[in-house]
């Protein structure tokens, strides 16, 4: 059978047909929801009222809504605590697991277990552990002579407590990425530092960390996006409470969309939420570019 080059070129005009299924799927699952969200954000959409175009009114109401402002502040606070804590602990854990010691493989496996667990299931267990009367955490505290803590029952401690759960869940991911980074680092700078008489702390801050920085920034980027999107943990443990002390942007969005059915208003929240995450991601990417 001989290859017909003329025929091959002639068929090139029909190759796009092979991409049609993928284009249709992308339009259906990505483009359509986005365009519909944009459309809804410009309309008043209520179950009991006729849908009507309201221009940018939903966005104006949103920026006048103090609940939205506070939920944004809480989201940033929660994201900051959980990202910083998981980065610090993840880097430390990676340094520990990078060393050789007995049963290292087993220890690594146990360490990454929280990451593999379903967030809703683990959040239910945390909820029971945080119970002020019958929870195991307060039992431990009181057993060693400390006063019981309020955990998620206090407006001042609820966000740090939720960040603790998020940190427990996602530190293993940071550890895995940093561990991969450590394995790929060149050995010469460490040998040079040793010859120059640098101690462990100096080696970490002046050699290891600068070399690891691109990996740390990747982790920070992934963790920031995840922390902003956190929903299941907060929903299961506090449902935004006590009061509205842990009502983050995602909770605020959920309430408006699925509890009050303000579809237009909730769509405006979704768009602003997307832009907020985008700003943080762009900032971090710029930081990464300047670091490398």
């Amino acid at each position: 059978m001989s290859l017909n080059l003329t025929g091959g070129l002639h068929n090139a005009g029909r190759y796009w047909l092979f991409a049609v299924p993928a284009i249709v799927v992308i339009l259906a699952v990505i483009a359509f929801p986005w365009l519909f969200t944009l459309y809804a954000s410009l309309h008043l959409m209520e179950p009991t009222l006729p849908t009507r175009f309201v221009g940018l009114n939903n966005f104006i109401s949103l920026f006048r809504d103090p609940n939205f402002g506070w939920s944004l502040v809480r989201t940033i606070y929660f994201a900051f605590l959980s990202v910083v804590a998981s980065l610090v602990l993840g880097v430390f854990a990676a340094l520990v697991f990078h060393r050789q010691f007995v049963l290292r493989g087993w220890a690594r496996t146990i360490f990454i277990m929280p990451m593999m667990a379903t967030p809703v299931a683990t959040s239910l267990i945390w909820t029971m552990m945080f119970h002020p009367q019958v929870g195991v955490l307060n039992y431990i505290l009181t057993s060693v002579g400390l006063p019981p803590a309020q955990w998620v029952s206090n407006a001042a401690t609820v966000i740090p407590t939720l960040a603790l759960v998020e940190t427990w869940h996602w530190t293993p991911l940071v550890m895995l990425i940093i561990l991969g980074g450590l394995a790929s680092l060149p050995t010469e700078p460490f040998e040079a530092a040793k010859i120059d008489g640098a101690n462990a702390v100096q080696t970490f801050f002046y050699v290891t960390l600068p070399l690891l920085w691109p990996f740390v920034l990747v982790c920070a980027l992934l963790r920031t996006i995840e922390a902003f999107k956190a929903f299941d943990t907060i929903y299961v443990i506090t449902r935004g409470g006590p009061g509205d002390a842990s009502e983050t942007l995602n909770m605020f969005l959920y309430q408006n969309a699925f509890s009050y059915f303000h579809t237009g208003y909730a769509s405006a929240v979704a768009i602003v939420f997307f832009l907020v995450v985008l700003v943080f991601v762009v900032l971090q990417l710029a930081l990464k570019r300047s670091a490398t």
């Binding site: 009991t48 009367q133 309020q150 206090n154 935004g240 006590p242 009061g243 969309a257 059915f261």
Partner: protein
Amino acid sequence: MKNETRPKARLSRRAILQGAAGLAAMSALPAFGQSGFNWKAASGANLNMAMQKASFATLLEKLMPEFTELTGINVQFEQIPEQQFRPKLVMDLQAGSGEMDVIYISYASQKQLLGKAGWLEDLRPYISDVSKTNADFDVDDFSPAAIAYATQPDGRLDSLPTTIHYNLLAYNKELFAAKNLQPPKTFDEMLAAAKALHDPSNNVAGFVMRGIKNANTSMWTGFMLGYGADPIDAQGNLNTTSPEALEAAKLYTALDKDCGPAGVVSFDWPESQASFMQGQAAMFIDTPGITAACNDPAKSKVAGKVGYVVHPAGPKAHVTPMLGSGFGINKFSTQKDAAWIFLQWVASKENQVKLVAGGAGGAARKSAYPTLLGMSPPPVSPEWVQALNDSILIAKSCIPDVVSANEFRDVYGIALSNMLTGSDPATELASATDQYKQILAQFG
């Protein structure tokens, strides 16, 4: 008290015997009634329905084969957690979907929303059609409060009430006996008992009830009714900064904050129930299905020591706050007649008795209580049944009949939670009212 002349629904021996005889007669009825109604009229139909997860849903799932045997109708039945079920229901109906033929509706959060949107069939033509309705249906057997609760403002009855959640007071008899106290009949007695029994050093709270936002609102509005005010009056004005609202908020905080367990602000009903069932709270106000479980030896450490009384009286009125739920027919369903047969069965006298006997909730039919109290041995605590029966004539909905009922519960729920963590009740109520006033004006 304003309503001292209200009749008290004590059960007579005659009423009990009549109820029992009625139930026995009903179970002996043939498939064809005198009206020409036929339970098998829609035999072979397939109905779809879903319910939020609850003990009532579990009970119904068990009873479903009986329905299929009686009617020849198959039911695809699904239980979905409450937080997912409610949005799914509204989204399906908003899309004009007839997927669910039978609709389970929670009056406190969805009645006006579904009613205003007109998504449910008006049941009055069905009830009056003798060819479609069993002669034994007996609409007058439903308590007037339950029918009023299910009726829309325009007069349509678009659901049959089945489960009426009368708030009851459960108390720990052992703790009361130790202090030589009697179960409270009034708000003042309730607060005095809570103070006397509050013993944090021994990990015993004088009182426990819902503290988490949204779930806590019905506790406060329930007290407000006892002080003689509705949250929203007949003219649509908010009463939520009135002296009555403030007194109710003060009572709520005095009980749940000053005499409640640590961290009560994050307690929904399961945490409150757990606290009471562990013997760590002396009194507990909640709905029938939730308080009934406190006497279950398999679940509760205080089983056998739990007493039940009707919701205590306020200084101006004796009202039992109620929430409730029922079943309607989806306007978009293609099997409305089969759905109506299901509604008659689910709200039948026999199933109402089974609902209460299973401890799954309060019945909407009056006849259920005398029937139950006539049973020997009693299938469930007679004290609990008596408290439910005593609630029928003094029951009143405690969440306003508005489209924005969920926002009402959230906005005031946050205010109440803030009070539990130390905020001033008057300031919180004023701030919540400012916020909710705008929502009410915009969405009704």
